[in-house]
């Protein structure tokens, strides 16, 4: 599903964010990406979502080389990837419904489909009663779930999450992870970047560890694998 081949990324100014990263997340797999702040987690996710391009190497999604994607096609690529952000990235002036409906409106769905799908997505994350609320009136956990509903509303085959539990307490974090597990069991590939080692330790998922831009471990989670 996600394949990195000898990928290196150096930012203008010489800061090397990734060097020769090589891994493959299979279709239908759920995997974690971990490492200290500045280890290159965000850069790696940005390469998948085409916010950045690698200097060397290839990034492939479902066998398609992202290096061949033209600027005009980026928007269409992003519609295939559900993205969840630590900072939620919600439109604070719009209702929960409008936020979740955004990807569908962009794709040009009919009103009927939009209502049906937004309803289903909010049901999944347990926020059906908050449809008309503004995100600003919701708690951090609820906002994150709005973000997740938006990411899955157009049923993408791949979910990317950047520190989705960043500001949440362990109980809420676990709820969020359970949500991802639900999507994963429905066949969606899930790739989660987090520095919450405690959270990973409680589960047996494949964990990729970055340190200083290099992939140092790739395997089942081991406690303190990179510390």
């Amino acid at each position: 599903m996600i394949k990195f081949e000898e990928v290196s990324k150096t930012y203008p100014g010489g800061q090397q964010a990734l060097s020769k990263v090589d891994f493959h997340v299979e279709q239908g797999e759920m995997a974690f990406l971990t490492g200290h702040s500045g280890a290159g987690k965000s850069t790696l996710l940005k390469l998948i979502s085409l916010m950045e391009r690698p200097n060397v190497g290839r990034v492939l999604i479902n066998g398609h080389d992202l290096g061949k994607v033209k600027r005009k096609q980026v928007a269409y690529i992003r519609r295939d990837i559900g993205m969840i952000f630590q900072s939620h990235q919600l439109l604070m002036g719009k209702s929960v419904f409008d936020n979740v409906a955004l990807p569908l409106i962009i794709e040009g769905h009919t009103r009927k489909t939009i209502f049906k799908r937004v309803d289903a997505a909010l049901e999944m994350v347990g926020l059906r009663d908050k449809t008309k609320s503004l995100p600003i009136t919701l708690s951090g956990g609820e906002q994150q779930r709005v973000g997740i509903a938006r990411a899955v509303v157009n049923r993408p085959p791949l979910l990317l999450a950047d520190e989705p539990t960043g500001n949440l307490d362990p109980k809420l974090s676990m709820e969020i992870i359970r949500l991802f597990e639900d999507f994963n069991s429905a066949g969606v590939s899930v790739f989660i970047a987090t520095h919450d080692l405690g959270l990973i330790a409680r589960m047996k998922y494949r964990t990729l560890t970055l340190k200083g831009g290099r992939m140092i471990t790739d395997g089942l989670s081991q406690q303190g694998g990179w510390s």
Binding site: M51, I61, N62, A75, I77, E107, H109
Partner: protein, 325 residues
């Protein structure tokens, strides 16, 4: 269409009939258009300022243009009344002059002919100029006999009258021929310069309008930076993000154009009042024209075009620049 996953169901691959999609397209645009208008309504003061700039920028050249056009019409009225003065050679006596008049009367370009003998010319000059005593010192009458020729209305246009003048100059008795619309031709020349200036002014103002709209839209885009970032993250194309701003430009244009039309109407009515009094002294009938539906449509089209152009240039540049990092 999904680029990465073949066969993935998305809106465009759904079974939506052509009719339905056609209808959805217009419904979407209509909704976005109304939304943009609503955005303008939410910041009435800022919107009015931009609309005002656009409106006044179109008002000024429009008013000037209409004034120049109308002045041209007035001068055309005057040209219709043109007459040709033929100064005869001083050795031509009254009998010869009468023969000339007889010949000219039969020309079908000529409506009427009037003879002013040198004696009559002298008397008229003495009466009107107040320099009569000065003339007493002259040995002889300096005034040549004059024949005033009024061409038929068909031959009263500047070109035809000039042709007629050439023909008259070839007459044996004629010394100098003069068309009394030459000063009008000079006015005509001035008017065409004025017209050029109006065009120049209009071009400059329209440039300014495009820049002002462009800048206003730029500020709108920047104030929605966060929203645009989110939209790009969830896969919105540039075209989708640009559309509401283009609609904003459209509304600026339409409302600015309406404002310009209303303003021009008021200005012309107001000028019309003072002109009426002035024109009555010269017994000239002047109805200011230019406030018809055609003018309205033209002004609206022009101003919508300027609004769209300004916003188009702005979105092309600035929506592009906002990229999630």
């Amino acid at each position: 269409m999904s680029l990465l996953f073949k066969g993935r169901q998305q809106a465009s691959s759904h079974k939506v009939s052509v009719m339905q999609r056609f209808f959805m397209f217009f419904a979407d645009h209509f909704r976005q258009g109304i939304n943009s208008l609503g955005e303008l309504y939410r910041v009435p003061f800022a919107s009015l300022m931009t609309i005002g700039v656009l409106g006044f920028s179109i008002t000024l050249p429009s008013t000037l243009y209409i004034m120049v056009e109308n002045t041209e019409q007035v001068t055309e009225q005057w040209q219709q009344a043109s007459e040709i003065s033929l100064f005869l050679r001083s050795d031509v006596n009254d009998t010869q002059a009468q023969q000339l008049i007889g010949r000219l009367s039969s020309w079908n370009e000529i409506n009427s002919v009037e003879f002013v003998s040198s004696q009559q010319g002298l008397e008229e000059f003495q009466r009107l100029s107040g320099l009569g005593e000065a003339l007493d010192y002259l040995d002889e009458n300096p005034f040549p006999p004059v024949v005033l020729v009024i061409p038929t209305s068909k031959h009263a246009s500047p070109k035809a009258a000039a042709d007629l003048l050439d023909k008259l100059r070839k007459e044996r008795e004629v010394d100098i021929g003069k068309l009394d619309i030459e000063w009008l031709e000079r006015l005509y020349g001035l008017l065409s310069i004025a017209k050029e200036l109006v065009y120049l002014l209009a071009t400059l103002l329209f440039f300014a309008v495009v820049l002002i709209i462009g800048n206003t839209i730029r500020l709108n885009i920047l104030s929605k930076r966060d929203e645009i970032l989110v939209m790009k993250l969830v896969g919105a194309t540039d075209a989708f993000i640009q559309r509401p701003f283009l609609y904003t430009g459209f509304w600026f244009g339409l409302l600015g154009g309406l404002m310009a039309w209303v303003t021009v109407t008021f200005i012309l009515i107001w000028i019309g009042w003072s002109l009426d009094a002035f024109m009555q002294q010269y017994q000239i009938q002047l109805d200011i024209t230019g406030l018809n539906i055609q003018a309205l449509v033209f002004m609206l089209l022009l101003s919508v075009f300027l609004g769209l152009l300004g916003s188009f240039l702005s979105v092309q540049k600035h929506v592009d620049e906002i990229e999630p990092k």
